[in-house]
Symmetry: C2
């Protein structure tokens, strides 16, 4: 169930909170956040309230405050808060009577609309409206409009105090070693925040209705500068205040004069004009991204679009110097780090819809290649070993130790940065998906080949020849299911490793044949020829867990020998994530057949045609029974897997749960940010799972597995730089190519290959 | 007018806030703070409210967070807050209906008593009582008791979450580079905060009424650890929770086992027992400190005792490694720095009442002597130049630049650290007061002589021979009146400089005669003989502004030539401090006869017998007319001065204003801490001003100038290690010596000398 009301107004869909719900404050701040890929601004109330945690996060703006802390996305100066004092009384929603309330997020435009009617102690009734957006037309721009209307009397002396507040911290940790505050031309407020390796410039201009008697003055406080604007207004007459904020980190910094001109231009044209430009840009994005589903309920439609809104808002468009964090730009959770989530769960949306952005995400990994080489070397491996958690660079950012165990005083080692290696294959998987779907030779020549070869070198050195078993093994690792640490031959990891090495071998041979000069260059740089023999050997002889007599692929060497967790249903139903860890120690968990999240199932999703259908089916059901879904990555994976095996009802059950992962009725979810990977997973379920669209090794496949009530789905996908309109139902697949195609495209529909020329319609 | 209600309950006086007044939140947090000299805990509400700023400050616990920030008293982890959730509803006073409210400070014991009756949305009516004190018996101990009583129903599931929260910052600046959180024996919470040069250990134990079904669990959050305690209680039945917190910085750190034992002992004995021990200690302090005034109103009595409560609470008893800050331990104001306030305004209370503490304050300066020598050398002077602002060491902590001017972007230079030199004489004045009143040879031999000689060396090098005038001049300085910067021959400074040098010359000669060995040691160490000739010359020939034909002592060389500020009354009456700076630039102010605070008047207070009565009178009235009293140090100085010239009514006017400097009806005063110097000034007014008690150069003088309605005043003063009970009225002075005296003591009463043997009563 979606906790929020879903409202359709004209063509636009809003999520709405219809009454003041402080319990949901932190969650709604994340869910309703204004994000344009450059900045994410939590949807905190403008007026100060008891609950909530303000936050503005700028993509790639990281810092490590102290040696003992991790590098984290900095909580930047706040620009959303305002203090409103009416004839001496400060207006606080928590202290007033709330006569009316609505707070809405437009999931197409990302505009926040907040209207509250209050009755003050003085008897004055008042309406305060607050609208905001982070512009997609100019990603440095944040705009907020405040409208104050007395409903039953006069405001003799109104005071609004607002500005730029640099006292924000990341939960009590400050990052800026210096914050300079300025006022230019008695008009622009400016704050510069200094980190050791970056700066942030926040410039603000404003306009407001002026009766002539109104005054403004500027206040300097520690780490912040504010304007105090007075006004006078009478019953029913609105006083309007518009705030234009221009935000740039060091590398994007333009001349201040240029920024001022920009802001003046926006200010003179007004909120609606700036919003109009933003809206136009958003429309063009949606044109490419929109999924139309006939038969879907408004709630389903809203939740899918909501996922896309945040996917769009978390992408640092047109740049590859930063990537997508596990919470996007909506909160402090996971410290803004980049995980495998980006390649496996989030990249597909961009690959199919905005492939140039998928390239940017992969280029970000290429920028970290040297650091990945260093990590491999530090651990005694060859090639490149990508970080489990990345921030701005490719350096491993996973802390070596978790917080002290409060009872023992010992810090538990965090093994994922040391032992969870599959990310180095996940990235390669995404590269190959990208290349086969786009044919982007340029990327491959500049980044792709090198990364693939280096990953192969890593995996080759990572595998150990086991004389007794007569094969290569990968020991002491962690697969996607993090409830089993230090296991040998994790199926997901071993298959992915072989995939990597095989791909490298194939590409090396192909390059030698077709692009000898490039091949020679790479040989010299990477010492390919020395390594390649080893690759072939490992690829040939790596141990791959095969289905046992019950057709089950063992998750690892010992998984099937372990006992089951008898009362797993208790934890599957628990509102509290990882409740199982309250009853069992980690050591006990490791020794049971209990999964935090999809593991073998992930493998089946990535390679839907690797195993016979019967094997896929058996394994999906077998492992689901043993999975608590304690990770937000799990429901979407299982939904997609169940759809692919035709278990539509079960798929739907999982899909419903993943669809509301940020929108459900649990106020404690998403408080420190939305679940970026799961939002990507929603798109994957819809497109890969239900529409059954899948591009594998240069082959577009479509095998619809639509839920009963979804009559037809339409979306656009990009193949080799060109658009295909796809319409699917359980009865028909219709394809239409965009302009500019030259070659006919073979498409396998429910297993049978057709040739798409201009258009194609196949009954199934 | 005192903003707070004054309540007498038995023998004890309370200041009370009788209704919930959020406007006064910040002020009342300072004013009602629990301070025992080791810690100061702002009197924030336990339940979270919209207004207020929590703070715990530990004497001498300083840090400089960034190179660009100043060293400041660290806002330490909070232990006062608790979250209360009753059957799912979080209790917030701001969101509930407030049915009853009282919040009181016992100004004798420092106990905070807070009782609030709330009606929740659920209909439940509830009383929450919160009592706290910082123990004077064991200065590391802070105790809080919370009592929760449902008034009209049952609490099925109550939850109290409280603990140690290290997310506190100094207005957005964090100091601890690491915070470790622990739970010992599933009972004690422990937080260790690490600064580069210090640590803070906060250990907490608790007890609570337990129905048997109640549970507790521990929560680790970033930078904090908390207990969650559940309870069940029915109408009229109270649930009690007591929290015992043990706080130690590195240098005081005892074994954790010892601390645990201490806390367990306190916990087992309970709140009342711990409070009883604290109360006993406070009683013994008050026995020495109390001033009884017959005829004083309850409000006057309360305000005087309030001043003493905070004086007692700001003194880091029994140690000299830290001193008293301008805001005591009650807020972030002035960053916890130590000014001349300590020697001139605060030290007298301790000198007359607890002389060993006066010595500690002076020893703190001695510890900073090397740094003062360095400062002198850095500025090209000889001897020692004490810092205008000190923190933990004697290093100058005054920032070189103020915050950027927000309009020009230029940082104004802060001249006080560079040019306000009189502190180096103020300290010497306090030393000599201390020595003459206590006869503490040990202090003089170990600290005093050296400081006096080094100060004399400084002043000698600071003065310049003016050939034209034929005298030594002190140019380009700042006197106590900071509205005149860069002036020459400030009367206060020149007289104090000469005082210093003269004292050094006299003492050097006396030492050479009486303690030749010590003299030789000091000669060698300080190169006395080389300098002394210069001292005699400067002392003889330094320019001292003398009364002009109108008997006015010129504040500096040019003051009397400047024009007056015509509309000074406007600024004298202004609620806003330093409002004159909004209308005039600093340059304009410097060129007018307008004073921020007492300057020549301060000189007359320190040396009441230096000038004929007529001169004193003329000058006090002349300068008061030109003084805005924009410093909290000004009213008390003028009150004392007016009393001394017999202008009792005028004295009373000023006294009334200084008496309520922290208690008045302006909610914006004292928000970042109480005014420590002014509280000392209240004591000075009462004892030096109205009682007319004064100890000058070994002579006790008493010349009562009591306000009409004060019939009689009684206090105790300490002279040469012995107590004298002093009772004065405008008609009579009665003295009684404590035990242990041997020598008769000459006392000058209204100018006539009497000899005090056991007791003495003189009609006047």
């Amino acid at each position: 169930m979606i906790h929020y009301a879903v409202e359709k107004r004209g063509q636009e869909i809003w999520l709405a909170e219809r009454r003041y719900e402080p319990r949901f404050a932190l969650k709604t701040e994340s869910v309703f956040a204004q994000c344009n890929g450059y900045m994410g601004v939590r949807a905190s109330h403008g007026l100060s309230v008891l609950d909530g945690r303000r936050g503005m996060f700028i993509a790639g703006f990281f810092n490590r405050a102290y040696e003992e802390e991790s590098t984290e996305l900095v909580n930047c100066p706040d620009v959303t808060e305002y203090l409103l004092k009416l004839d001496g009384e400060v207006v606080y929603p928590d202290r007033a009577s709330i006569l009316g309330y609505e707070r809405r997020l437009n999931i197409q435009t990302g505009e926040l609309f907040n209207k509250i009617r209050l009755k003050l102690d003085s008897g004055l009734e008042l309406e305060v409206t607050d609208r905001r957006f982070a512009s997609m037309e100019d990603q440095h721009l944040f705009v907020q409009k405040i409208i104050i209307t007395p409903l039953n009397g006069t405001i003799q002396k109104g005071e609004l105090v607002t500005g730029i507040n640099g006292q924000q911290t990341n939960s009590g940790v400050s990052h800026f070693h210096k914050i300079d505050c300025r006022v230019y031309e008695k008009q622009f407020l400016h704050v510069t925040g200094y980190l050791p390796e970056d700066t942030l410039s926040v410039l603000m201009d404003c306009s407001y209705s002026n009766s002539g008697e109104d005054t403004k003055e500027f206040l300097l406080k520690r780490r912040g500068v504010f304007g105090r604007y007075t006004f006078h207004t009478t019953e029913g007459e609105s006083w309007n205040y518009e705030k234009y904020v221009y935000i740039q980190k060091e590398e994007d910094r333009t001349e201040l004069e240029f920024q001022k001109e920009k802001l003046e231009e926006y200010r003179r044209s007004g909120y609606e004009s700036a919003f109009g430009k933003h809206h136009e840009k958003m429309r063009s994005i949606w044109k490419q991204a929109e999924i139309q589903i006939q038969g879907a309920t408004l709630e389903e439609d809203a939740a899918i679009k909501f996922a896309q809104y945040h996917l769009i808002g978390m992408m640092p468009w047109h740049r590859s110097d930063c990537s997508i964090a596990a919470k996007g730009l909506t909160g402090e959770g996971y410290k803004g780090h980049v995980f495998w989530d980006t390649e496996i769960f989030i990249n597909p949306f961009f690959l199919y819809t905005f492939p140039e952005e998928a390239r940017n995400l992969l280029e970000f990994r290429y920028r970290g290649l040297d650091a990945a080489r260093d990590k491999a070397e530090a651990y005694g491996y060859q090639g490149a070993m990508f970080p489990w958690e990345a921030a701005k660079t490719g350096k491993e950012e996973t802390p070596l130790y978790a917080a002290l165990n409060i009872h023992t005083g010992k810090a538990n080692k965090v093994w994922s940065g040391i032992k969870e290696h599959h990310v180095t294959a996940d990235i390669i998987y995404a590269i190959w998906q990208y290349y086969t779907m786009t044919g982007d030779e340029d990327f491959m020549q500049n980044c792709g080949y090198e990364m693939i070869f280096e990953a192969a070198a890593f995996w080759t050195s990572r595998a150990r020849w086991d004389e007794a078993r007569g094969c290569y093994v990968i020991e002491d690792t962690i697969g996607p299911d993090e409830y089993t640490e230090h296991i040998d031959n994790n199926a997901y990891t071993n298959y992915m490793a072989r995939y990597c090495i095989n791909l490298a071998v194939t590409l090396a041979e192909k390059l030698e044949r077709n692009q000898p000069r490039l091949y020679q260059e790479l040989c010299q740089k990477l010492n390919l020829q020395q390594y390649m023999k080893g690759w072939v050997d490992v690829a040939d002889k790596i141990y791959l867990p095969v289905p046992d007599t019950n057709l089950i692929i063992p998750q690892d060497d010992t998984f099937l020998t372990k006992k089951r967790l008898t009362n797993i249903e208790k934890y599957k139903k628990s509102q509290i994530k990882q409740a199982v860890l309250l009853d069992y120690s980690r050591d006990e968990i490791v020794n049971m057949q209990v999964l935090k999240q999809a593991d073998v199932v992930m493998l089946l999703n990535l390679f839907p045609h690797m195993f016979p259908e019967e094997v896929v089916k058996k394994n999906v059901l077998f492992y689901e029974e043993r999975t608590i879904h304690d990770s937000s990555l799990s429901y979407c994976a299982h939904a997609q897997a169940c759809a692919s095996i035709g278990q539509i009802e079960l798929a739907w059950e999982f899909f419903k749960r993943c669809l509301v992962i940020d929108l459900d009725e649990n106020p404690n979810d998403s408080t420190d940010g939305i679940h970026a990977a799961s939002l990507g997973g929603i798109w994957n379920c819809v497109v890969f799972g239900f529409a059954g669209i899948n591009y594998e090794d240069g082959q577009l496949n479509i095998s619809p597995k639509m839920p009963e009530h979804w009559k037809e789905m339409q979306c656009y996908i990009q193949v080799h730089g060109h658009e295909i309109q796809v319409r699917v139902s359980n009865q028909e697949v219709a394809l239409k190519r965009g302009d500019g195609w030259e070659q006919p495209l073979p498409v396998r529909i429910n297993g049978k290959v057709f040739i798409l020329e201009d258009s194609l319609k196949v009954m199934i």
